[in-house]
Symmetry: C2
Subunit: 392 residues, 2 copies
């Protein structure tokens, strides 16, 4: 049975935390479409986010209301403890139709509660709330004052509870197995797709005590000239001797993610690659060391930058981001980034994926860690050697 993953008390705390942020932002109503935010607030799960769905959270009235496709309403009843009246299905004719849109139904639901003249927060930069839906709400609710919720719920998720940390640690145990399987399996002549098969297998079987979930990003493994860019996926070509492969992998436990990148070379590596891998690991560990409560994200990046500068390297892109509960297409939380100018102050039990990739023309290195912020610095969730992996 699907069942609940967290206690009702924990969901109640989360709802209270979000309402407190809503009060500060002056919001009467929040329209939540991000599947991770919906899950975090209510426990709702299922691969139903490809059709519009929302949780409506009013500042003062009712609890959260789930609005979604009729065939998914039983999933809301099975995975949440929302009362029956808080599960509000729309008929299937709204789905991908030229005549009507689920946002029409959503507007009608808001109106039926008398919430149409409030200040309404919308997830204006989410994947699962479209410009068409937004325009429909604006037209259908002319008395509302709309605001960009600016990742309000995402920010409420940034410090993990003990129950969440326990899932992060379980994910990390699976990630160790996934990365070990990938490193054990890669060899000249092995088809990329066959290695990916083993990676997925390890992600799902997990451990004898618990299994894994789908991850929000698929296994990434650029190889050869492809290592100059991070987001290529696999083909069915074989891995080749004399080439590097970057593996950015993860495991997810109940949708909590622990990502990890490692770099492998088949055969003796070029000096540049070996040297760069050493600098990346040194810089990564300097960043972890700096990741203490009270430090800012920018200061963590600066600790990395000081190391690589000493070695004559530069990197323009951010070196990490908050991570945790997520759904495709991204396991990042879209809140704090480890980069210059991000003055987010670290707090104990925030989790980040620090992934300081260095990419050149047709080559690159990624060595990363997912860590939790502790008084002693960023605590790595996995224990896997950070060295460049060299296989013959």
């Amino acid at each position: 049975m699907p069942g609940r993953f967290f206690t009702t008390a924990e969901h109640d705390q989360r709802i209270a935390a979000v309402r407190s942020r809503m009060a500060k932002a002056g919001l009467d109503l929040l329209v939540v479409c991000d599947p991770a935010n919906i899950d975090w607030l209510t426990g709702y799960r299922g691969w139903s986010f490809y059709t519009p769905q929302a949780v409506l959270l009013h500042q003062a009235q009712d609890g959260p209301l789930w609005v979604g496709r009729e065939m998914d309403a039983p999933a809301a009843r099975l995975t949440t403890d929302l009362p029956a009246a808080a599960v509000i299905p729309y008929p299937d004719g709204y789905v991908q139709s030229p005549d009507r849109h689920p946002a029409d139904f959503l507007a009608e639901t808001i109106r039926s509660r008398g919430w149409q003249a409030g200040r309404i927060g919308l997830e204006m930069d989410g994947y699962y709330f479209s410009p068409r839906a937004c325009d429909i709400l604006r037209t259908a609710l002319p008395d509302a004052r709309f605001a960009d919720s600016d990742q309000l719920v995402n920010w409420a998720r940034i410090v993990k509870s003990p129950a969440e940390l326990s899932l992060m640690r379980q994910a990390a145990l699976i990630t160790e197995r996934v990365v070990e399987a990938a490193i054990a399996g890669i060899a000249p002549g092995i088809r990329q797709c066959d290695l990916v098969a083993d990676i997925y297998h390890a992600q799902m079987t997990g451990t004898a005590d618990f299994g894994g979930d789908f991850t929000a990003i698929c296994p990434l493994l650029p190889t050869g000239r492809g290592t100059g860019t991070p987001h290529l996926t696999w083909t069915d070509d074989p891995f080749a001797s004399g080439e590097a492969t970057i593996m950015e992998l993860a495991a997810a436990r109940r949708h909590y993610h622990c990502p990890m990148a490692r770099t492998v070379h088949l055969g003796p590596p070029p000096q540049r690659l070996a040297d760069t891998a050493q600098v990346v690991a040194e810089g990564l560990n300097a960043a972890l060391e700096a990741a203490r409560p009270g430090a800012t994200c920018a200061e963590v990046e600066a600790a990395w930058a000081a190391v690589i500068r000493r070695h004559g390297l530069v990197k323009e892109s951010r070196i990490g981001y908050a991570v945790g509960l997520n759904y495709p297409p991204d396991w990042g939380e879209h809140t704090a980034s480890l980069r210059p100018g991000d003055h987010t102050v670290l707090q104990e039990n925030m989790c980040f994926h620090c992934i300081p990739g260095i990419w050149g023309d047709g080559w690159g290195v990624e060595i990363s860690e997912t860590f939790v912020v502790t008084a002693a610095g960023g605590e790595r969730l996995c224990n896997v050697s950070q060295e460049l992996v060299v296989k013959s």
Copy 2:
């Protein structure tokens, strides 16, 4: 090497087809953010769609321009044959930043080409073009006239080329193996996550001749009371004797999908389930029989509905949708649906997933086929028994 999957001539034909639709819609410029549409037009691939990226296609000037994150530009060079000047990267500081947005950069790119006063089509109901991005374009390009492109490229994709059909057929060969592995593996006491491990493994290893890709929807396998709703994913609970499981699975070959659903019962099935499965298969085959060039989507649905009505069943939701090239979160193309009121006329070599699920309170049946429209009716791409699978 990543390389190209289709000939330049085929991409040129696609671009010409889209420009012809743009002319009918009166569009000077199309902003394409859907990763499947980007892939179809240019060949660009990679799991980079979690940050904003776009292909700009002008009616008369230049070829398609790729605009995306700097670290992904090498992937554009590796997977497309766009000229160097047509790959336009934005700096990493635009990513998930409170100060600036990739849409600012996109607007600047449009302005730099002198396209800011044209009629510009936007994918207003896509996953990868946000309301915030849309508002930024509206503000930054006040002289433009914006239009909802209404799935313009998706509609151009609906009839498959011979090269595309060949990938659909390869995907189907993998799907057969995936479904067979799932049916072979399910048994009382087996953890759901372990069966999913085998499913993913089969999806990726494919055949000796070609491997598989990630699918746009993860394996769906509601079990027990969960079979009353279609989009639940797995847990690590074991499958139980006396319970049904619905498997909606797929395989993807170079991102072309062949989905298939089957229903399994562990132990002697309840009569209601066995009877319903028989009716669903009969109705499904009636729909396939009706899927000839010249028939409408509504007529295909009517053929199904006539069968189940005779058996005293009704179904409110659509029974299928166009399918092909896609990226998460949906393998459907968001164009034609097999349902009453959809008067899309079928043409040879359109592909659909016909999935007439019947769900009751805590139980359900799904038996589906992916088919290609031919003069002899819908040709099933897979050859797997449609019967309710009963295992002891």
